[in-house]
């Protein structure tokens, strides 16, 4: 109701403004002076406003950026994260300079050269030297940006890591993430989407012995700090986006193909809580590709542990083989329907 009232007031204010302007116009006509399309007063008024506007623009660019400096580009928690952030700072320095110089020139020119009586514009159709300068200078700056940018890109996406990574599969479906560790053999068992039935959520081929020691977790998954990780990303239904902003990681998951990501976490969750001054801080895996009505709430916690904590945690997890055995047991007692119903209720609640 309050909002409607506010809208109404603004609307009325505009109507009043319109009427006032009409009156001013009519008064001018009554006084009978012949009007040009744009009066001298119009030019002065708008020219002055351009300077005011320039201050507004710089204000709205700089002040909120300063106010929210702790919320933007939070500390990178992966090995390559710092190099991406450095590139970001470099790029912002370049575009910031370009932005402030050109905007200042634009608005100062708009103010300074507004039409005055008895002046004539300067006929200046072109100048090859100037054109050359502002072709070459941006070219040089851009060359630097391209070379710097591509070297970071190559390092993050293409270079093979020096050490052998832990292999983890991140599996996505509407609206849930599931992680699968490759286990002691560090090899993921094969899978087929045709096997995604009932309890076998990932469609794992149980006849493939490599899958025996695989460990499947949902809700949250753990990573050891300072160890290279390789994610294999999969989707069972639509596109999803695996987005881990604090690690500066992002990659879509695509049904029908496996996409890859590699990185090394360098700060444990506990240390990060200290850095962020937030006891409840958790690393998150978000979905960042529109995937349906609960897209905005498709998440999984990531816990970065010390090596020892990680080893303890992973020991407590059940392997695919043992889990399958228990599940088979449950099926016999026919309670699988109950769990299915419970699952459904849980999803509905979400």
């Amino acid at each position: 109701m309050m909002n409607c009232l506010i809208l109404l007031v603004i609307f009325l204010a505009i109507i009043v403004l319109v009427r006032l302007m009409k009156i001013v116009d009519l008064a001018g006509e009554l006084r009978g002076h012949v009007e040009e399309e744009v009066t001298h007063a119009d030019n002065q008024f708008n020219a002055f406003f351009f300077i005011l506007f320039m201050l507004f623009l710089f204000g709205i660019t700089v002040i909120p950026t300063y106010m929210y400096r702790n919320y933007m580009m939070t500390p990178p928690a992966s090995e390559h994260g710092q190099s991406i952030d450095n590139l970001m700072y470099f790029t912002f320095a370049v575009i910031g300079i370009a932005f402030f110089i050109t905007q200042t020139l634009l608005f100062v020119f708009a103010y300074k050269y507004h039409a005055k009586k008895d002046t004539k514009a300067f006929y200046y159709p072109h100048n090859n030297k100037l054109e050359l300068i502002w072709t070459i200078v941006p070219s040089i700056v851009l060359t630097a940006m391209i070379i710097y940018g591509l070297s970071v890109w190559k390092n993050v996406m293409m270079d093979a890591p020096a050490e052998k990574p832990i292999v983890i599969e991140l599996f996505s479906k509407q609206f849930k993430w599931i992680a699968r560790y490759a286990g002691t053999d560090n090899e993921l068992g094969s899978f087929s989407y045709k096997k995604i039935i009932g309890v076998n959520e990932l469609g794992i081929d149980s006849s493939d012995t490599r899958s025996n020691d695989d460990i499947i977790v949902s809700g949250e998954f753990h990573l050891p700090v300072n160890r290279q990780v390789e994610f294999h990303l999969r989707s069972q239904d639509v596109l999803h986006g695996a987005f881990m902003p604090y690690f500066r990681l992002q990659m879509n998951t695509v049904p029908g193909m496996t996409t890859m990501l590699k990185f090394k976490p360098i700060i444990t969750t506990n240390d990060m809580r200290g850095i962020m001054k937030d006891d409840k801080f958790d690393y998150l895996l978000l979905c960042n590709k529109i995937c349906g009505s609960s897209h905005y709430n498709m998440q999984m916690n990531i816990v970065v542990d010390t090596e020892a904590d990680f080893n303890n945690w992973i020991k407590e997890q059940k392997t695919f083989k043992s889990e399958e055995a228990t599940k088979a047991e449950i099926t016999k007692t026919d309670s699988v329907k109950v769990t299915a119903v419970l699952e459904a209720v849980k999803i509905e609640k979400k």
């Binding site: 302007m21 001013v24 020219a47 709205i60 575009i95 020139l105 072109h126 940018g149 905005y296």
Partner: protein, 602 residues
């Protein structure tokens, strides 16, 4: 309306022998006159813009105050889509999707190119009409039908298409994946196919007219920059829209015939689908092969309009005419080989990503040249600050502000953390939602006297401009902060994450405040527009003291544009304040004096 139609027909009957007298239907509805068709495009585009802008206000309310009840939501969406005044998540997606579709295609493609290419190509080239008036009429009517179908899709049972305006499959291909992928999506695809037909008919007509129907003396080097921009835009459209049509057709096959062009290995809702061997990434390649040139289809006409209006109101020739022409050409060419920068994070080979980074950053060079040339045109000018001129200065400002962040997003390494966040939303809204729209406003204020024979009110124009640019920046500059805090776009609410709520919510309040005020400010423009059509001050033949041919036509519209012979062109379009002339403008029809250098020669 019906009454008026009847009366007009009646008049027609009585005047049998005046064969140039037209019936209401052939004059206002199925008109083949480019000036009328341009007005049809403009008014349809404006209506669609209002619809899409209202949608953005609705979802901005949800984003600022998630889960709160608003009367306005239940008023527009009813109990089904806004139970108790709280926006439904599926409808949120639907609104976002249709807002984007309408704005990009119906407003900024048809509304901008359709209006000004139609109006200005014959008038500024010196042609009696478009090459084919009939195809031109068809172009409008295909567009009109496609807008009607898109609006109908808002009212189907499961809601409109809601997979985002990029309609990536498999989400858009599987009706079981989300409600909006059912009937709504089918209508979206039909509407878009018709729209593509319209864009192609229009584009071919523009190209043929510019190449063949220029008046005597109008060499390509004497064309105003507006025409150059429309010409290159039309070429981009003709080359890229068919690819979108093929993408849409294959998607229809996947949906209707059960083919697997984009689909493979899919299980939805426990159902194992039969699709095998397709690739969702194929769709993205096809979509962005149109999608990126589309950005320049949207932007180039605005830049062309800005070149003309800035030069005219600075009373100075545009600085570096040939450099501007080359820039338009280079931007047009490069726009075809950068589409992959939308796909760095899709699983495309990273090496291909680096190639696209290279080509993408190259576009900054011609863009920078254009900006510097605009600045130098203003330098030492005698600026007449009309509303059109204000919007053009605003366009240059927003083109810079939106352009520089493109260097962040076009850099594949930097795209990793900001891809699909609000940083992207801020970037492309400043370029398309502000810059291109400002170009459209500038064009309307500047050529209104040519379209309707009357002037728009300047004072209202000033109020409209200042409110719009302040609100525009007020909406989109703070969005960069959300983007750099890595808030993903297309989230119904950010409340599910502690890292995105807290203090950052205040930014959403500021953004929504400016969005609402900015939307209301457009009422000033709409009032000014329709009021001036009927009550505006009568325009003189050349109210802005312009050089180009459209200002040599009579104020009263006639079929064929010029009453006698088509004027002959003797010089380029930018002789403003040329030394040796009494007035500060020289019409293109005025012969060169003896020994006078033309164009860029001094």
């Amino acid at each position: 309306m019906a009454h008026q139609e009847h009366a007009e027909e009646h008049v027609h009957h009585n005047d049998h022998d005046h064969d140039h007298e037209e019936s209401f239907v052939s004059k206002y509805i199925f008109s083949q006159d480019h000036k009328m068709i341009s007005k049809q495009f403009l008014v349809t585009g404006m209506i669609m813009a209002v619809v899409a802008m209202m949608m953005s206000v609705l979802f901005r309310l949800q984003l600022a105050w998630p889960g709160e009840s608003f009367k306005i939501l239940s008023f527009f969406l009813g109990d089904k889509w806004a139970p108790k005044g709280v926006l439904d998540p599926n409808m949120y997606m639907g609104l976002v999707t249709i807002h984007g579709t309408i704005m990009v295609f119906f407003v900024l493609t048809a509304g901008l190119s359709g209006t000004f290419s139609n109006l200005l190509i014959p008038l500024q080239c010196g042609a009696r009409d478009m090459a084919s008036g009939f195809l031109n009429m068809l172009s409008y009517w295909f567009f009109f039908v496609s807008t009607v179908i898109m609006v109908i899709s808002l009212f189907v049972q499961d809601g409109p298409a809601s997979g985002g305006w990029t309609i990536y499959p498999p989400l858009s291909a599987l009706p079981t994946a989300m409600p909006g992928s059912g009937m709504g999506m089918t209508l979206w695809l039909i509407s878009m196919s018709l729209f593509i037909v319209s864009a192609l008919l229009g584009g071919l007509n523009y190209i043929v007219t510019v190449i063949n129907l220029r008046t005597k003396g109008m060499s390509m080097k004497r064309l105003p920059l507006t025409i150059w921009a429309f010409f290159v835009t039309a070429i981009l459209g003709v080359l890229s829209f068919p690819v979108l049509l093929s993408a849409a057709l294959l998607l229809m096959f996947d949906r209707i015939l059960g083919t697997s062009f984009y689909l493979s290995d899919i299980v939805v809702n426990g159902e194992i689908m039969h699709f095998e061997g397709g690739s969702p990434i194929l769709f993205q390649h096809l979509f962005w092969f149109l999608g990126h040139p589309e950005v320049y289809i949207v932007l180039l006409p605005a830049l062309g309009i800005a070149s003309e209006v800035i030069s005219n109101n600075s009373r100075k020739p545009i600085f570096g005419y040939m450099a501007m022409v080359y820039s338009i050409g280079v931007i047009g060419f490069l726009s075809f080989i950068v589409w992959g920068h939308h796909m760095f994070m899709t699983g495309m080979n990273p090496f291909i990503g680096s190639v696209f980074t290279f080509t993408t950053l190259l576009i900054a060079i011609p863009s920078a040249i254009k900006v510097f040339n605009y600045l130098t045109t203003l330098w030492k000018g005698n600026l007449r600050l009309t509303p059109a001129m204000l919007f053009c200065i605003g366009l240059v400002s927003t083109f810079i502000a939106g352009g520089v962040t493109g260097l962040v997003l076009g850099d594949s390494a930097l795209d990793i953390p900001v891809h699909d966040t609000y940083f992207v939303v801020a970037h492309f809204h400043i370029v398309m939602g502000l810059s291109a729209i400002f170009g459209m406003f500038a064009g309307i204020y500047h050529w209104f006297p040519k379209m309707y024979g009357r002037m728009m009110n300047n004072k209202l124009g000033y109020a409209h401009f200042w409110l719009t640019i302040v609100c525009g920046y007020g909406v989109f500059i703070p969005m960069h902060i959300l983007g750099l805090a890595y808030v993903p776009r297309r989230y119904y609410a950010n409340t599910e994450f502690s890292i995105f709520s807290g203090e950052l919510v205040n930014i959403n309040h500021v953004v929504t405040f400016f969005a609402v005020v900015g939307a209301i400010a457009q009422a000033i423009f709409i009032f000014n527009f329709f009021h001036s059509i009927y009550r505006g001050k009568k325009a003189s033949q050349n109210p802005w003291q312009g050089n180009t041919l459209e200002w040599t036509t009579p104020v009263e519209h006639i079929h064929g544009n010029w009453p006698g012979k088509i004027p002959e062109v003797k010089r380029w379009a930018y002789d403003y304040s040329k030394p040796g002339y009494e007035e500060d403008f020289v019409l293109q029809t005025v012969p060169l004096k003896e020994g006078e250098q033309e164009g860029e020669g001094h």
